[in-house]
Symmetry: D2
Amino acid sequence: METTTILLTCPDSKGIVASVTDFVYKNDGNILHADQHIDDKSKTLFMRIEFDPANFKIEKERIRNKFNEIAVLFDMNYSVKFSSEIQNVAIFAGKEEHCLFDILLKQKAGELKCNIPLIISNHPDMENIAKFFGCKYFVIEKTPENKISQEVKERELLRKFKIDTIVLAKYMQILSKNFIESYPDRIINVHHSFLPAFKGAKPYLQAYEAGVKLIGATAHYVTEELDNGSIIEQEVVRVSHKDTLSDFIEKGKNVEKIVLARALKAHLENKILVYGNKTVVFD
Amino acid sequence: METTTILLTCPDSKGIVASVTDFVYKNDGNILHADQHIDDKSKTLFMRIEFDPANFKIEKERIRNKFNEIAVLFDMNYSVKFSSEIQNVAIFAGKEEHCLFDILLKQKAGELKCNIPLIISNHPDMENIAKFFGCKYFVIEKTPENKISQEVKERELLRKFKIDTIVLAKYMQILSKNFIESYPDRIINVHHSFLPAFKGAKPYLQAYEAGVKLIGATAHYVTEELDNGSIIEQEVVRVSHKDTLSDFIEKGKNVEKIVLARALKAHLENKILVYGNKTVVFD
Amino acid sequence: METTTILLTCPDSKGIVASVTDFVYKNDGNILHADQHIDDKSKTLFMRIEFDPANFKIEKERIRNKFNEIAVLFDMNYSVKFSSEIQNVAIFAGKEEHCLFDILLKQKAGELKCNIPLIISNHPDMENIAKFFGCKYFVIEKTPENKISQEVKERELLRKFKIDTIVLAKYMQILSKNFIESYPDRIINVHHSFLPAFKGAKPYLQAYEAGVKLIGATAHYVTEELDNGSIIEQEVVRVSHKDTLSDFIEKGKNVEKIVLARALKAHLENKILVYGNKTVVFD
Amino acid sequence: METTTILLTCPDSKGIVASVTDFVYKNDGNILHADQHIDDKSKTLFMRIEFDPANFKIEKERIRNKFNEIAVLFDMNYSVKFSSEIQNVAIFAGKEEHCLFDILLKQKAGELKCNIPLIISNHPDMENIAKFFGCKYFVIEKTPENKISQEVKERELLRKFKIDTIVLAKYMQILSKNFIESYPDRIINVHHSFLPAFKGAKPYLQAYEAGVKLIGATAHYVTEELDNGSIIEQEVVRVSHKDTLSDFIEKGKNVEKIVLARALKAHLENKILVYGNKTVVFD
């Protein structure tokens, strides 16, 4: 079934929920889901409404225009998404294949509704995986020296393939500020720790040395500050003194896969709103 | 802050969400939460709307009447609840005190918003606990022979103390059909297994003998059929071959406490709707 | 590092642990792990000792003979395993690829120490996956009529490829009693429920209709009675009224993968002892 | 059943496990549990052996002396514990009662095998709880100025009541270096975060502002450096954008109780060995 989703955020005031639901109802949309959340501290309202547009009186192309009449009244930031507009996702892959494989498999199984036309990597190791799943594969090796010029090539590819969302699947390279700002809240990374603990390099080693009894992974939007973007999803798994550093890494992989796939799924289903360094993830 | 909550269920059709939100909005209620769920199979809609009635134009006493105008249009079952009307809860206590204590402590701490005027038990063991928390304590010993007449006494007490909700805190006595039907979806039991596995007596022994690797507990509404009422909440904890039956029981206690308290909390906050043998638990 | 593992079970009595550790020590083996468990009910002892045989005085071929001298004293069932003897695993694959892929990937990553020379399936769909991972792929279609004769073909393949362990990766076919008895405690199945709840067909549908709040998966050894073999590992994931049957299936897949991989790993590392319908899984 | 437990740690070398098990066996002790762990990095061995001393040839008073003959050979740090020597525990209580209550209840239920003769607090609020459970209650108010002199009083009480272990049940006061060093690895604290994240004051607020999706609690031995002692146990619970800071605090309480009780239980059962900033927790 095709659906239309309106995501919005604005200062809280009376009448927002009623106005938005009324907009859908009066125009013969059938509301499937309507969630909202009010952040008490900042008095901000977040709302997501998804409806069946089968008999919707407003043509697709004009919905944004029409909805804008309500949006201006309440000073809304909003977006209108159509489930028929499947997002194009690029995966930036590192040396570990588990997250890459997991996303490709879930996309193939229909669990992640997106196209994945493009995989970019620092090295050629994943080419046969890309081939297996029918994705284009580009090796763009980066060094501290050539990073900016290589990013130019990456950005050309992203444009060429009309990429909406970038997934860093254990990519392990730091993107430039400029690059990141071109894809605000559209680059998802998985960090192999329970952030904000163990930022930066070798989080499993940090965890191992700290003697923790649970290890975790975090999926977050990428911002300029390393491992500090808004958290989308986190999960943990139990470890004990019996687990070596290798066991930490191995156990952690399952958790990394799970959080990255859950985060990407919520993102693709237009269920995430970012505010400050936090996310609202409607479920 | 005082709030008003409308809980409703009806056959799904267009306009329900819009009508209900509009009802609140037009009468100057400020919507705090609005959740709905559609069961695709039965085409049933479930909705919960909670609003701040500070400036609500309709007087408290007349809200039900007024809302009824919408309700009849959509063939709704509904209830209107006021946060100021604190529920009275009776606890039926068995020989184990952990669930009893947990609920009393959480009520005292303000986590469970209710009054607990009354504890009924089969035996005198918990009297000093009742005293400590300032509850009346009644010993009503039941045998298969005197069950019906003893239930008469219990029902008198429930009426006298204006009890809205009954919590069976490891009570371990089976209530009569008649008794249960007088409190539909208002008696909450905790069963010490991950239902529907291990119904009936000695679920930990059953689990132990089945060699399971996780044990659980289930909070559910009580219906005539034993351990078969609509499930409200479940949780599990890991066990291994090292755990004896006593370890199962001990580990299970934490889980029992957690699911019972979560279920009661959702119930008291008017977040549960029952349909068939299932529950919608808004969060 | 190469290691040698002795797994044993026998009636509990004094001196077993001391005798076994002494056997290793006196022969210059360096004990790396020694775990034991006593089942109080049946007074049975289970023990696993793993040692570094670098300087072991007894030649590999003669260890069993030598250890037998202790074994007869205590009436032990035992096995001696060498980490250098990598097990050969056959996967029986059904129509869903997630468990198949997960095992192949973990084997490739070195997390599951085994060879996987052989994949058998009821249909040709997984052939390209087998090819990708360099495994032979055989389609052996089964009907109720030809089951026994087809199993003959399967058993020939299992012999030819010297298969030690069979993994049923959502195979969805019932093996004959005869077949199962040829591989006692060497066939691992994953059932997509939290056993013993929801045995048999369509467990997610059963769970959905029961209105449970957690769903699970179970890895177990296959015995003649369907879904009733000794449980090796279980895990659960939270669901709510919002989850459709499809969501149950999708969420369940991650859990199925995790329990099957954990069970196979423990099996390959000779950490499992079966007694009655239970398992000791040393960690 | 009475049991004897030897806990030891020493540089790893061949023969340790065999010598210790042989010591028990030759003297007619029946081994109930024997666990060991080798830290690969520091080449340190940790061992715990628990046996039934019913027919043990060495008298209780002489076991330490006798075992010392082995201990010197391997340069062991070791302790010999008798289950009949029940530990005396003092609870230092703050303003929140949930952890205090939970420990007192579990002690009463026999789940925590210890005496709790003494509760010390900064204020009089918990006196009736102490009374209910039959513990002495002392109010020792501390200010930055009188801390040292007040600790003198506390230490007198600890001596008078022969306290072995101190539990800080949300005590929220920082003990002096001197005090801490008098009870090495014998003071257990619960910190309401998933350490090392969110050390120090207001961890739930820190977590709330960081936008995490799981919150946790940590039980650890107290060392001079705040919230930095060896971690014994950790647990987490899921939160979402819907949870207010109050919800974080409320959900966190269950987790705090669970980790503190598990840590204390392992401590009382002599299952913990500390090395550096880590713990081995045998299970």
